[in-house]
């Protein structure tokens, strides 16, 4: 049998023929296809790099503006308080000044006491004017303190819509061709265990939903996203020609800031006389939640020279292991929450992650990705509101044995 197979092999294996093929026409078609493909590849890489570039720019701006706004908050409040002291000086004279200074000195949270009626003041017009002023100032203060930056996503979109300059594309091409790929990169060879590690900042924008009351709207205004972090490792559980599946574990720390201005009436003693005043209290709390997630994703990728472009689609189950912070119980009550009295219960997440990688060596691929996820959170134990959240995690990582 072996002899027969050898005979068959020797008879057929080296057979050659150009019969049935127009060699010249075929070559012309091949040359045209190669030219076209080269252009398309350049374009695709250019678009991809632009997309990632603008995503990074968008989120950096987001981060920057987030910090900028938090600084503006403080300066704006200080201005408001100074204005108020100025108004007080005008209205109450020295006693008003002392009162204002005393109020500021006593209350580190910049509580300001405002007299509704003052026995020493003989000018009711000024008094009412002050009240009007104080109300408008308070409004300003409240508006400023809860200012949210909703313009960021628009900024990101605007950045993406900037006309593309193809100079960068040619630069990319130079970058790509500068690598001489002499080592093998056939995926069929890499069926062994592969590891992926990644880390980066994390943002979780939590939006409450409730159509019957305004509590959800208040809460959404009062909470603003802050930068947390994420670390993760995953292992490849399956590999195809242009796809793979990964399962892993991920540690994330999500943060947001709670800002609230609360106004309430109070009685104070001025010149041995009790008067009704308004207490304006600004509350700022940095909330955080520590989460362990178990993601499973399908990774679809395409290798272009030493560059890998890919998209991961999947889901995860997240266990909230620690949380603390403050939030609204109703429209006027701020309460602390913790792991015992939960804001977040364990949740599922759907995630999409575009990524771009450079084959650093035969075994290691360096990658950057933008992980986006959407989560549904069931009713919390504080105000019984359901919520949705969008998570964004631009990460940098390594894949070993890619």
């Amino acid at each position: 049998m072996e002899n027969l197979e050898q005979q068959i092999k020797s008879a057929i294996a080296e057979s050659k023929s150009t019969q049935g093929v127009d060699a010249d026409l075929l070559w012309r078609n091949i040359a045209t296809s190669l030219d076209r493909k080269q252009k398309t590849r350049r374009k695709a890489i250019g678009y991809w790099i632009y997309a990632v570039f603008f995503m990074i720019i968008g989120f950096s701006t987001y981060l920057f503006k987030e910090h900028l706004y938090s600084k503006e908050d403080f300066s704006a409040k200080s201005t408001v308080v100074t204005d108020l002291i100025g108004s007080w000086k005008n209205t109450f004279g020295n006693s008003g000044n002392e009162l204002a200074q005393e109020g500021l000195a006593n209350d580190p949270k910049k509580a300001v006491y405002l007299s509704e009626k003052n026995s020493q003041s003989d000018n009711p017009k000024k008094q009412s004017q002050l009240l009007v002023n104080s109300t408008s100032i308070f409004k300003r203060s409240q508006d400023l303190s809860v200012t949210r930056d909703d313009s960021i996503s628009i900024l990101g979109l605007a950045a993406c819509s900037i006309p593309i300059d193809f100079h960068i594309i040619s630069l990319n091409e130079k970058l790509l061709t500068s690598f001489q790929f002499n080592e093998t990169n056939e995926n069929s060879e890499n069926n062994s265990l592969a590891w992926r590690g990644y880390m980066g900042p994390a943002w979780l924008d939590n939006k409450f939903r409730d159509q019957t009351t305004s509590l959800a709207d208040d809460l959404n205004k009062d909470l603003s996203v802050e930068t947390g972090n994420v670390f993760g490792v995953s292992t490849r559980i399956n590999l195809g020609r242009n796809w793979a599946t990964y399962f892993g574990i991920e540690y994330s720390n999500f943060k947001d800031r709670f800002d609230k201005v609360i106004v309430y009436d109070t009685l104070i003693l001025i010149n041995q006389e009790e008067i009704v005043a308004q207490n304006i209290r600004t509350i700022r709390q940095h909330n955080n939640a520590t989460v362990i997630s178990f993601p499973i994703v399908l990774d679809v990728f395409k290798d272009v020279n030493r560059m890998r472009l890919g998209l991961q689609i999947g889901g995860s189950y997240s266990v909230v292991i620690k949380q603390n912070g403050r939030m609204l119980k109703d429209n006027a009550t701020v309460v602390n929450y913790s792991q015992n009295e939960k804001r977040f219960y364990n949740f599922y997440s759907a995630r999409v992650t575009p990524y771009m990688g450079i084959q650093f060596s035969k075994k290691i691929l360096l990658e950057t990705s933008l992980q986006t996820g959407i989560q549904h959170h069931r009713k919390n134990s504080i105000n019984q509101l359901e919520s949705w959240s969008l998570s964004l995690m631009p990460t940098i990582g390594l894949i070993y044995n890619y």
Binding site: I8, V21, Q38
Partner: protein, 185 residues
């Protein structure tokens, strides 16, 4: 088939003249492969075009330590043939092989290259693919299973059945010759 190192280097740099040199050298061999594995011969030119474009685009993935360039290229051509066969199979249940007559055992000994191929094509299609890839192209079961998209175990079974089929056909041929000799004597 010899592909020079300078030709390979030129192909790696995307040099059109080197690509043409490779094309001229490899075309007869790749065309013969298409003839062996492509069901619908009218699509041979298209398949060859796609295969050559793939080869030139992926040539940086070629590792000289793992074999000759033409073997690596042959694998890509075979992959394209099987992909095309799968596409065809989705729309039409048609195969040239089913319409070809078996080779006359009387001329077994004098089989030429074309006749031998025709005879082997009378083998059931599933066995033919595995047998040819294993015996003629020299692929391992692992590689064949990846190309065809079957399990290695199934691949082994098909090869052994192909061998059984071949033995049976040879026996038939032997008995035919024996009967003929008996009748003549």
């Amino acid at each position: 088939m010899n592909i020079s190192q300078s030709c390979l280097n030129g192909c790696l740099q995307g040099d059109r003249n080197s690509q043409k040199e490779f094309y001229d050298t490899a075309l007869p061999y790749f065309n013969a492969i298409c003839h062996r594995y492509l069901k619908n011969s009218s699509l041979r030119q298209d398949v060859l075009q796609d295969a050559f474009v793939s080869i030139f685009n992926k040539i940086h993935q070629y590792n000289p330590e793992r074999g000759a360039l033409h073997s690596w290229g042959a694998k890509i051509v075979i992959n394209h043939c099987f992909k095309q066969n799968q596409k065809e199979g989705r729309f039409i249940e048609w195969s040239i092989r089913k319409h070809e007559k078996g080779a006359d055992p009387e001329v077994m000994k004098a089989l030429g290259e074309a006749d031998l191929e025709s005879f082997l094509k009378t083998m059931p299609e599933k066995y033919y693919d595995v047998f040819m890839l294993f015996v003629v192209e020299g692929f391992s079961h692992e590689e064949i299973s990846a190309i065809i998209g079957i399990k290695e175990e199934v691949c082994r079974k098909r090869l052994s059945r192909a061998r059984l089929w071949l033995q049976a056909e040879l026996k038939k041929a032997d008995s035919f010759f024996w009967d003929m000799n008996y009748k003549i004597s």
